[in-house]
């Protein structure tokens, strides 16, 4: 599994959890799920693009 897919899976679990915890009714839960999921994944993509312009640096040492 790629990092991106794992990140989406993590975002999906968190979003579903908070949607179920904080809202009643399928439509309201779905809306909150979409908002949280979009914020998490979208925010991560935005941060990734910001970091893209910084130099990569040396590779991490193998422990």
């Amino acid at each position: 599994m790629s990092h991106f897919l794992l990140m989406c899976l993590y975002a999906g679990i968190i979003s579903a959890f908070f949607a179920l915890l904080s809202r009643r009714g399928f439509r309201r839960q779905l809306r909150l799920f979409a908002m949280i999921f979009g914020s998490l994944v979208g925010g991560a993509l935005v941060l990734a693009w910001i970091m893209y312009f910084f130099p990569a640096g040396p590779p991490a040492p193998i422990p």
């Binding site: 599994m1 679990i13 959890f17 179920l20 915890l21 009643r24």
Partner: protein, 191 residues
């Protein structure tokens, strides 16, 4: 279901029992208090997150002495209850620190524990009869216990309540001004 005051415990499950059952098995506190679908969904999410973490070889914190952060991580992970204890003590799970999923999986495992800690608090609140669910207009919709109120309706009620309070204050000031004038006239009459 009949209406209950916010602080009255729910019939059938003591709040402490709700807390302990929610700790031991994710979602069980909700199932025992009548929210079966939610309880099962929560169980699936918490155990699913834990399962993904274990499957990719994630770090399972198990330090009870030494540096504070690993101990805090252990407490957070133990929040997932019996599934984590089974994984560690019965199945003897131990992750390889050089594995590709060690850090990422650790995030899934820790999150499962923290989610269940939130579920414990929610279960406790439900047992106490405090279970308002917010709606999109900022109010709260009625729960199985019959509590809750409208959002926009509440705002309109608030405005009319403010107007009533303003009227009362104005009337009160007029009354006290009349009393003062009457006292003043009395004093003048006594002289």
């Amino acid at each position: 279901m009949s209406k209950r005051s916010p602080e009255t415990p729910a019939a059938g499950l003591h709040p402490l029992a709700a807390l302990v059952t929610a700790l031991l098995v994710p979602g069980l506190g909700h199932v025992l208090q009548g929210q079966r679908a939610r309880g099962i969904a929560f169980f699936g999410l918490v155990v699913g997150s834990l399962g993904v973490g274990l499957a990719i070889g994630g770090r399972l914190p198990w330090e009870f002495s030494g540096a504070p952060l690993p101990r805090l991580a252990t407490v957070g992970t133990l929040g997932a209850g019996l599934p984590v204890i089974l994984a560690r003590l019965v199945f003897g799970y131990e992750a390889d620190p050089t594995g590709a999923g060690f850090e990422y999986g650790g995030a899934f495992i820790l999150t499962a524990g923290l989610m269940n800690l939130l579920l414990m608090l929610d279960s406790w609140d439900i047992a106490h009869g405090r279970d308002p669910m917010p709606t999109d207009d900022g109010g709260s919709e009625p729960t199985e216990k019959g509590e809750g109120g409208g959002g926009k309706g509440q705002a309109e009620d608030g405005a009319s309540q403010r107007e009533e309070a303003q009227e009362k204050r104005t009337k009160g000031r007029a009354k006290s001004a009349k009393k003062k004038a009457a006292r003043g006239r009395q004093k003048k009459g006594n002289r």
